[in-house]
């Protein structure tokens, strides 16, 4: 027994000490998208065939673990050649400031801006810092979008028919009426992953834009409009309304998004608020699902509906990498039409390359129709303080479980906002 122990120890020491050499023709890529690993690996194989350059693609999940790893690797200066930044624009800016991200503007503008023009502008904008940005970053493009996504409302055609509804609702009133009709036949109406705070933020933000217009929302983030403003109370009231009228599915505030996706795929709810990546999920879970896509039904018919969208996932290039050229070349190849079509087919995500649009499966093209209406926190000139957003989204959770009133939540959020404003003036 003892000898075995000693032997085991020596064995591992021996194995563990093997040094890891860096091969000259290899580039490393770290990402978090477990469902695309196979597709990526296939593309890496093709790339190696074509160019003799090996691309090592490693996936780390869940996305929290991935972010932790990136942060730790950044501090130790051993980031991979290509990676993604899963965080707010400020953090992106921080990465750039600390010299972890390469400035790709020149690359994009080569050959009369050929690369830049092949990709959707909205997708690029997520990776762009424009003139006069408040993070004081030199304007330019710092990342490459590999797909495009947006978040809208989906509806189950069969379930709606069961409740006697032939056409999806066009505005909020119709939506509530549809929900009531569904309730009468025992079908829950709306499901969404509101156990994840950003999902609540997205939904609330869409309606905030619709109710008061983009300018006022941005002004609120700047601190010029308080959250106790009647328009914001209207936003909070939406959730109260949805709860009171029984529109929301049971337990929606503890549902992670993947369970919400499961619910919609298994026809447990008639409507879902989810992103275009869901097409892949629904396909896997229930290929016979008959569903369609609409923008979230508007409350204010005078202002346009806005949805969050833009780049789905983007990759940046490590500025300290010894293989910068090769990394950029790979990303260029990855966003070329042929590869984008492959990715779209395999992973059912919207391509970032405009030319690839013609070949995507049908329901995805419905999603693509709303690309013009998209917006995203990363392209706004001002963003809210994270602590205020946390209070905001958790406050909405409280409204949904009936603990607090919209007015109470508005006041609490405003209090935090004022505290944060004071702190930032230090």
């Amino acid at each position: 027994m003892k000898r075995f122990l000693v032997f085991a120890l020596c064995l591992t020491l021996g194995l563990g000490c093997a040094p890891k050499k860096r091969e000259p023709n290899t580039i490393t890529l770290w990402h978090w998208m477990t469902d695309r690993q196979e597709a990526f690996e296939e593309l890496a194989r093709r790339y190696e065939e074509q160019t003799q350059i090996k691309v090592k693609i490693e996936v780390y999940a869940p996305s929290d673990a991935y972010s932790q790893k990136i942060i730790a690797a950044a501090q130790s200066k051993i980031l991979p050649d290509i990676y993604g930044i899963l965080d707010k624009k400020e953090i992106f800016a921080s990465f750039i400031e600390s010299d972890f991200v390469a400035d790709l503007t020149e690359e994009f503008q080569k050959d009369n801006g050929q690369w830049e023009q092949s990709l959707f502008e909205k997708a690029l904008n997520v990776n762009r810092f424009s003139e006069g940005n408040i993070q004081n970053i030199k304007p330019g493009i710092y990342g490459v979008p590999v797909d495009v996504t947006n978040i809208q409302m989906l509806y189950n055609k069969n379930l709606l028919k069961k409740a006697g509804i032939q056409e999806p609702p066009k505005n909020f009133k119709e939506f509530i009426a549809a929900a009531q009709a569904l309730k009468r036949v025992g079908i829950p109406a709306l499901v969404s992953g509101w156990g994840e705070l950003w999902m609540i933020d997205c939904f609330a933000s869409n309606y905030a834009f619709n109710i008061m217009g983009e300018e006022k929302v941005i002004a609120t983030y700047r601190g010029q409009v308080p959250y106790t403003d009647p328009d914001w109370i209207k936003v909070f009231n939406i959730f109260k309304d949805l709860t009171e009228k029984g529109v929301l599915v049971e337990g929606i505030v503890t549902k992670p998004n993947k369970y919400a996706e499961q619910d919609f795929a298994l026809e447990r709810a008639a409507f879902a608020f989810n992103g275009s990546w869901c097409v892949n999920v629904y396909q896997d879970m229930n290929p016979n699902l008959e569903y369609g896509v609409i923008v979230p039904p508007v409350i204010n018919e005078d202002l346009p509906a806005r949805v969050w969208g833009g780049a789905g996932s983007s990759f940046v290039v490590n500025n300290n990498s010894s293989q910068k050229e090769k990394a950029i070349a790979f990303l260029r190849w990855l966003t070329a039409a042929e590869q984008q079509v492959y990715l779209a087919e395999e992973t059912k995500n919207l391509p970032a390359n405009k030319d690839a649009l013609s070949k995507i499966p049908e329901v995805l093209s419905d999603f693509a129709k709303a690309m013009d209406k998209t917006t995203h926190p990363t392209i706004w000139p001002y963003n809210e303080f994270p602590l205020v957003t946390e209070k905001f989204t958790k406050g909405i959770q409280s409204i949904i479980i009936g603990e607090k009133t919209p007015e109470e939540v508005a006041k609490e959020v405003q209090d935090i906002k004022e505290k944060e404003m004071k702190k930032s003036k230090r």
Binding site: T34, A61, Q75, I78, Q262, V281
Partner: protein, 281 residues
């Protein structure tokens, strides 16, 4: 002399106790049973069919989970890590515990309380300084780095346990060995360790458990897929198949099976170890 009345109460008491024990045992076994049962179903039927024993047993999931999840490789890695970390902890902590118990040197108490104190102060959020340090030492993405880190995790508890055990051990055998001219190290190896087998059994199962189920440090410190342990593979598996419940359950069963087996094999020693005073007193 048992009167009729006494006999009935005795039987009644006995059966109540049995019912109590059995019902608790059932709640322990049920989730496990459910996990295995679900692994044997298909995605269509899993939520609808609530029967305890499904009609059609689908064993495909296990094979699929094994190949898709690359379980073979991860399994070997987990085994490697578990064995080496446990071996390392046993050796290092028994050396230290023996010294704390039997030897004198300056600062003995200070160091001992330092180890004990570490158990009280968790380090959530220490991953950034840890990572930077590991990188400086060139230990990122190496097996030895992960192993050393995991050894540290289990060190405090093991030292405490073993020291308590050594304290209660009668010193005669050691004295005899010393008189025979055995060196301190020799006493440790030939006398103390064999006597401490039950306590060591406790440490083995305790640390084997924590290493086998660990994934946070593994994700952080290891990059190459070829170095990953099972739980880490499971996380990715979960992400990729989050909506394929039966497959997920099959994977989880495979991941949980070995550690249950190890426990079954070692449980007699563990009880002996606890009884002999490793914990008690």
């Amino acid at each position: 002399m048992l009167t009729h009345h006494y006999k009935i109460t005795k039987v009644l008491k006995g059966s109540i106790i049995h019912i109590f024990l059995m019902s608790v045992a059932l709640t322990c076994l049920f989730p496990l049973f459910w996990m295995v049962r679900s692994a044997l179903m298909t995605n269509e039927t899993i939520f609808i069919d609530k029967s305890l024993f499904p009609q059609h047993l689908n064993f495909n999931n296990f094979a699929q989970a094994w190949t898709e999840g690359n379980f073979g490789l991860f399994f070997l890695n987990s085994m490697l890590y578990t064995v080496s970390v446990v071996a390392g902890i046993v050796l290092i902590s028994s050396l230290a515990a023996y010294a704390f118990s039997r030897l004198q040197f300056p600062g003995k108490n200070f160091f001992f309380y330092m180890f004990v104190g570490a158990m009280m102060i968790p380090l959530p959020g220490s991953f950034v300084p840890l990572y930077v340090l590991m990188n400086k030492l060139g230990l990122i993405n190496t097996r030895i780095g992960y192993i050393l880190c995991m050894i540290n995790v289990g060190l405090s508890m093991s030292i405490l346990l073993l020291k308590t055990f050594f304290d209660k051990m009668p010193a005669d055998l050691e004295d005899a060995a010393r008189i025979d001219g055995c060196s301190k190290l020799g006493i440790w190896w030939h006398v103390a360790l064999p006597l401490a087998k039950p306590a060591i059994a406790v440490i083995v199962i305790f640390n084997a458990l924590s290493v086998w189920n660990e994934y946070i440090l593994a994700t952080l410190l290891l990059n190459d897929k070829s170095l990953m342990p099972l739980q880490r593979g499971m996380m990715v598996f979960q992400g990729a198949h989050s909506v394929d419940y039966p497959l997920l359950m099959a994977g989880l069963t495979i991941a949980a099976a070995p550690i249950i087996l190890i426990y079954l094999l070692m449980q007699r020693h563990i009880i002996k170890g606890l009884v002999s005073g490793a914990i008690v007193g």
